[in-house]
């Protein structure tokens, strides 16, 4: 077994991990370990833009961005964190530009911006151009730019190392245990500070925009170590996934003028969101699509609708909506605009559907997309462990795996990227200060013993269950019962089935019992992580007797601020059950009120 010593160890090499690494490594020795090569991380799949009130195309203010974010969160976001996010986003986008990120440009050479769901001018209530973009591959460019800067700054990378556990002594974190995938060898990373940036867990659901890697490893490990997870019942379904596949079609399509159309040929969003229509926030649009389908108004009565960005349709609705350019001419798009502003989307729909978006509408359905909940942290990325937000010294989390909380019950589009930039930077800087003051604590004897025993048990299991069978069953159950709409009986059914699936984990049998690049073993480990997370997601959702943001209960259709304006903290009990506690929401400038779009 190899042991490595660094001041700071970062797990995960998406945008959050790399931003933290960049800032920590300026002051202290820093290692990044990642189960994928960093350039394969899922930040690279983000498309439409990063939200920052630069005001390059029209008046905008970070305070408007903050209010939009709080309103989008259905008032569950912590407003102190949201202020830091929206003020910091402007600085972070400029920092990325200075690092070389190839943003699209306005005619006068500044960073180009487009409208996105829920982002408004707070005075006119009309959509505002706030999403800074590099075509429809903004996340790809962020990931590449941050990785380039990490190479420039000589950050140490351990690529294709899968985290297996934290090393803890009396609830203090002293590093992590990981397996080097290519050899199967277990390594211990001994550190003063550890940061988790392991991304989301969309693979809990059957239809998802998330990569295969998004199995919530960091969150499950935190939970199993006795720390809580926050607001896990709030999971975002993006309204426009490619039908049947879940591949994301950016909200930028609607930002450029695209509209949703039902089986009657009707643009239905004005009935649900009369002011900003198709650019309402994602929870609202996903529910609208489900309701249209339930009412038999899917395309040909099936479970999808059309997203139409053909110039004829878009230009017709621009006129009907009175959309003009700043110089008074009608807003218009052309086929060439679609090719230049949405090239990847055009490529996806041509490749996978044989649909040319310049001429035909795209069939879409909601797709499991983003975790608002996660590992609770303060605004410096320090993981907190209770209702009083008490931090654990030396443990940090940022990005989708974390919950600051800036997204509350529903995240606005473009706010995942600024989240990982702003809080990645803060966590990296805080780790550097922490590491300079802290001393390296001793490792326990054989820190990897528990993990090695678990891996050996999985590798040599003599049962009958294939891990993929467990995973696929779980994904169907969660899609059916803990999806866009939820109801008591269905969720109870889900809890029972998850429990039954969890009991089968000890009956897993692997085909691959070797050490070299054993993805059979890793998938079994990741399936267990998904099961552990599904359990707390369902438990939190079952207990929350209201509808708020992405958590929509048919049996409790209204928001209930008197009883439920609180964050959920879910703990794993030693006997395996879930204990729920609740934590107050930070309310500052904006008092909760009815949410209309």
């Amino acid at each position: 077994m190899q042991t490595h010593v660094f001041d700071a160890v970062i797990v995960g090499a998406g945008g959050g991990g790399l931003m933290a690494a960049l800032h920590a490594s300026r002051a202290v020795s820093t290692a990044v370990i990642s189960k994928l090569h960093p350039l394969r991380s899922h930040t690279g799949a983000a498309q439409g833009g990063v939200g920052a009130a630069l005001g390059n195309l029209e008046e905008d203010r970070w305070e408007w961005h903050a209010y939009d974010t709080v309103k989008g969160s259905d008032f569950l976001a912590d407003q102190d964190s949201v202020d830091i996010l929206c003020r910091g986003a402007v600085e972070a986008v400029i920092e990325l530009e200075h690092m070389g990120l190839p943003f699209d440009r306005t005619p006068d050479g500044r960073i180009a911006q487009r409208p996105f769901g829920g982002h408004t001018n707070n005075e006119t209530h009309q959509p505002v151009r706030r999403a800074c973009h590099a075509a429809d591959r903004t996340g790809h460019m962020i990931l590449q730019t941050l990785y380039q800067q990490c190479l420039k700054n000589r950050v140490t990378f351990f690529d294709e190392f899968q985290i297996l556990d934290l090393v803890t002594v009396d609830r203090e974190v002293r590093g992590v245990v990981a397996v080097e995938i290519v050899t199967g060898e277990v390594h211990v990373f001994h550190s003063k500070a550890t940061l988790l940036a392991t991304g989301g867990y969309g693979r809990v659901w059957q239809i998802t925009s998330n990569a295969a890697a998004l199995t919530g490893d960091g969150n499950a490990i935190v939970l199993r170590n006795g720390f809580p997870l926050q607001d896990m019942e709030f999971y975002q379904f993006h309204p426009t996934g490619i039908y049947g596949m879940g591949i994301l079609i950016t909200e930028g399509v609607r930002g450029e003028g695209g509209v949703l159309i039902n089986g009657l040929g009707e643009r239905f969003m004005p009935r649900y969101a009369p002011t900003i229509k198709d650019l309402a926030s994602r929870d609202v649009v996903s529910r609208a699509i489900y309701l249209e389908i339930q009412a038999g108004r899917g395309i040909e009565g099936k479970d999808y609708v059309y997203l139409d960005v053909t110039p004829d349709t878009v230009n017709r609705y621009f006129k009907l909506d009175g959309k003009r350019n700043p110089d008074g001419t009608w807003r218009r798009i052309t086929g060439a605009d679609i090719e230049s502003k949405l090239p990847d989307i055009a490529d996806f729909t041509r490749t996978y559907l044989g649909v040319d978006p310049v001429r035909q509408p795209m069939p879409v359905q909601p797709t499991a997309h983003y975790a608002m909940g996660g590992i609770p942290t303060n605004v410096d990325g320090q993981v907190t462990v209770d209702e009083y937000a008490t931090p654990v010294p030396g443990l940090y989390a940022v990005g989708e795996c974390a919950c600051v909380s800036v997204h509350g019950a529903n995240r606005l589009g473009t706010n995942s990227l600024n989240d990982l930039l702003v809080f990645g930077r803060r966590a990296g800087a805080h780790m550097a200060i922490f590491c300079r003051e802290a001393s390296l604590q001793l490792l326990p004897a054989d820190p990897a013993a528990r993990v090695k025993a678990r891996m050996d048990q999985l590798r040599s299991g003599k049962g009958t269950v294939r891990p993929a069978a467990l995973r696929e069953h779980l994904q169907r159950v969660m899609m059916q019962h803990v999806g866009v709409f939820r109801v008591e009986a269905g969720m109870q059914q889900a809890v029972r089935e998850i429990h039954a699936l969890r009991s089968q984990v000890d009956d897993i049998r692997l085909d691959d019992r070797g050490h070299r690049f054993n993805t059979d073993l890793l998938e079994a480990f990741q399936t267990q992580n998904l099961l552990d997370l599904a359990e707390v997601i369902a438990a939190g959702a079952l207990a929350r007797h209201e509808s708020r943001g992405a958590h929509a209960r048919e049996d409790f259709p209204n928001r209930d601020d008197r009883n439920w304006l609180v964050h959920t903290l879910a703990f794993r009990r030693p006997d395996g059950g879930t204990e729920l506690r609740y934590k107050p929401v930070v309310i500052a400038r904006y008092q909760p009120r009815e949410r209309l779009y």
Partner: protein, 245 residues
Amino acid sequence: MNVQLGIQRFNPENDAKPYWQSFLITQVDPAERVLDLLKYVKAHVDGTLTFRHSCAHGVCGSDAMRINNLNRLACKTLVQALARPNTERVPIRVQPLLGLPVVKDLVVDMDPFYEHYRSIIPFLVNEQEAPGRERLQSPEERAIIDDGTKCILCACCTTSCPSFWANGRYVGPAAIVQAHRFIFDSRDTGAAERLAVLDRKTGVWRCRTVFNCTEACPRDIDVTRLIGEVKLAIAQGPRRAGRVR
């Protein structure tokens, strides 16, 4: 639709040399991806089958492999694209990328490829103090580097290049594409250093304009043209070459 899926297998823990294994897969939807077939085999037939994959829609670059003798991403290759008329079973043969050591089955050791990427100084060089706001760049200046910024470093291009097969010290098309993206960036001041790296014996002059790279690129980057522009920049200086198009 039925598919006869041949996969080149090799696990150095057990096997002396690579061998072919074949799976008959029935009731395949023509719109399925080759990746879907590989995942099906792994999940339900043989869990030892090993390949990299993640996003499954052509943006992460994990699942580059050789499919019916061409380099492609398994997640961007649909079965229907490989079907021939009047065949009962669509023959699909999958093997690891050429020119890189095989780790196991379809997984290759990408380190030599990443090494070449790192050699071309793959980050913005500009030591001038940055302004308070963004540096200005016109849409026309931005357009010059657009194609290269689409690169996902999947290695389809480099491992389809006969010059790379012949000599693995050649930096290869992907590294040149990444260099192009900075050499022609109006904000960058490191072009001379990069061009010096690419003017070596292991640099652009090993390119014989075979166009395999352009044909292999799953991002539709005009790789051969970008390499040509770098050659021109070495010969004439980056400013003049940048104005050529």
